[in-house]
């Protein structure tokens, strides 16, 4: 599949701070590509350079074979953007905003259809200031899709939304992708990246520290799982160490946490515990996720 976005050795500093330090990646047509990482990792700087909204120090960027800064007008006619730090006039009605933005583009989609699709028909005569967080984000999505763009940029689209609105937003993203668009998004929710993205680039301190499909990133952790349970009486850790696939065991107060891999590890642990007549409750097994990948690669948690 052809590349829609190509970023090569992008660099951008603010004074002494290197916000983006040599980032390179490609985005293929029709995929959802996620830039994930903690706040301040350089996600917004990266996406805004690609959007042509920020000058950068070094590197090459091409989107749809266009230079986002030099071919600015042509570029902006063919992409859609949702920005993190942006707003709309408080005292404008939803339909007025959409109508105004439509007038900037060479072509635009039917406004009624968009309102219907994103559940804002009943809100079309409301002022922007009266909308809820989720409604505002949906309006921003409408603006990003208004010109029927080939590529859509979304910067922290679900930040500040409650879980329900976030889920609804994810569904919309999948629908947009299924309509043949390419999406480049940033997020600091690993769960979101796992759910939505075909491929993710994990960035930290302006560097890409991993780039692959979410499944492969997790698989590279050697299928490690975490098993935990509560015990009532002390017991000898040694009896668990004899099992296959155990990586480490920790006991915190009355909670036992086991890291290990292998298909049967949960079964083995449970069998051993019952054979040894050890009373346990609250048994949990957790699959590794992108948060664990981040922890493994950087040695620090996503949310610090």
């Amino acid at each position: 599949m052809p590349n829609v976005i190509e970023v090569n050795n992008l660099q951008k500093s603010y004074g002494k701070l290197k916000a983006v330090d040599g980032i390179s990646f490609d985005v293929k047509r029709g995929e959802i590509f996620g830039i994930v990482g903690p706040n301040g990792a350089g996600k917004t700087t990266t996406i805004e350079c690609i959007e042509g909204l920020r000058n950068f120090d070094k590197g090459e960027i091409s989107v749809l074979n266009l230079n986002p800064i030099k071919d600015c007008i042509n570029f902006r006619n063919r992409v859609g953007m949702q920005l993190q730090e942006s707003s709309l006039p408080a005292r404008l009605k939803v339909w007025e905003i959409i109508d105004l933005y439509a007038s900037f583009y060479d072509k635009s989609l039917n406004q009624k259809d968009l309102l219907k699709k994103f559940g804002l028909v009943e809100k079309k005569n409301d002022y922007f200031s009266k909308l809820s967080g989720g409604q505002k984000q949906r309006l921003f999505i409408i603006l990003a899709l208004l010109n029927d763009p080939d590529v859509i940029f979304l910067d922290e689209i679900t930040t500040g939304l409650d879980p329900q609105a976030r889920r609804a937003m994810w569904k919309m993203m999948i629908e947009i992708k299924n309509s043949g668009k390419t999406i480049l998004l940033t997020t600091h929710f690993m769960e979101e990246a796992e759910y939505l993205c075909d491929r993710v680039a994990i960035i930290d301190n302006g560097h890409i520290i991993a780039l692959a499909t979410p499944e492969n990133l997790v698989k590279n952790l050697n299928g490690c799982v975490q098993i935990s349970f509560l015990i009532k009486e002390d017991f000898e850790i040694k009896i668990l160490e004899s099992l296959n696939g155990i990586i480490n065991i920790k006991i915190i107060d009355n909670k036992v946490v086991i890291h290990g891999n292998g298909k049967n590890i949960l079964l083995d642990v449970v069998n051993l515990l019952s054979e040894s007549k050890i009373d346990f409750t609250n048994l949990n097994m957790k699959q590794p996720n992108l948060e664990d990948v981040f922890l493994e690669l950087t040695g620090h948690e996503m949310r610090d």
Partner: protein
């Protein structure tokens, strides 16, 4: 110029939905005129060369309305749009900076004109306002004066960082200008010291030109005023275009 007319209409809608701009541009000058009119009336007097207080004040107040646009409305609304990220969002579209600049210029010109017409109508209806100039000349002079203050406004808007700073700077320029230029108090009543300070204040040239044209002076009597205002428009306009920031 895609989006130009929609942008102008949008600015009008926002203007009519927000109290401050509406009040300062359209209502405040009229209230002032009515207050001073009720105190001094509009009887012809030798002090004003055979004209009345209102006859002299109306063209000077036109200068005040022009100054409100340039010193307050534009810097405050552009700076707070920038601060809130409204301009950032606009920038993510194919909208060209020239288009939005032109939309703002046309919009502020039109509301300044509207405020001026309301003021003149009030003077005419309540105080039998006298006018000895030529309507075309007044309009031309008004356009020049407005342009020079609009460019000043955009320059200020590019310098200040937030709506709040714009407010403070706008106010602290507006009120001194109002008193030193003769826009508020007829220049006949100003002391020589104040008149001399007034020579360094752009609004003085607006008031001079508007009053002169109002009473039928020839353009040639205002060569210096015109030169200052044209120079202001060119210099500040080019600075504004050069330093304009979306964010």
């Amino acid at each position: 110029m895609k989006g130009l007319s929609k942008l102008i209409i949008t600015e009008f809608k926002r203007f009519t939905r927000e109290f401050e701009g509406l009040f300062f541009t359209l209502v405040f000058p009229v209230i002032l005129l009515l207050i001073f009119g009720s105190i001094y009336g509009n009887k012809p007097s030798d002090y004003f060369n055979g004209f009345g207080f209102i006859d002299v004040s109306v063209p000077a107040y036109l200068g005040m309305i022009i100054a409100i646009g340039g010193l307050m409305s534009i810097p405050i609304s552009v700076a707070s749009d920038r601060e809130k990220g409204i301009l950032h969002r606009l920038r993510a579209t194919p909208l060209r900076p020239q288009t939005i600049m032109l939309a703002w210029i046309i919009f502020y010109f039109l509301i300044t004109l509207a405020g001026s017409l309301i003021l003149v109508a009030t003077g005419k209806i309540f105080y039998g306002l006298r006018f000895q100039g030529n309507v075309f000349n007044i309009f031309l002079g008004f356009t020049l004066c407005t342009t020079s203050f609009l460019t000043l406004g955009f320059m200020l808007a590019s310098i200040v960082r937030s709506g709040r700073t714009a407010n403070v700077i706008g106010m602290s320029l507006f009120f001194p200008m109002l008193f030193f230029s003769g826009a508020m108090i007829p220049s006949q009543s100003l002391s020589t010291v104040i008149k001399n300070i007034g020579k360094f204040i752009p609004l003085t040239y607006v008031v001079n030109l508007m009053q002169g044209l109002w009473f039928g002076n020839a353009w040639s009597a205002h060569r210096f005023d015109i030169t200052v205002l044209i120079a202001m428009s060119i210099v500040m306009g080019s600075i504004a275009v050069k330093i304009f920031k979306w964010e």
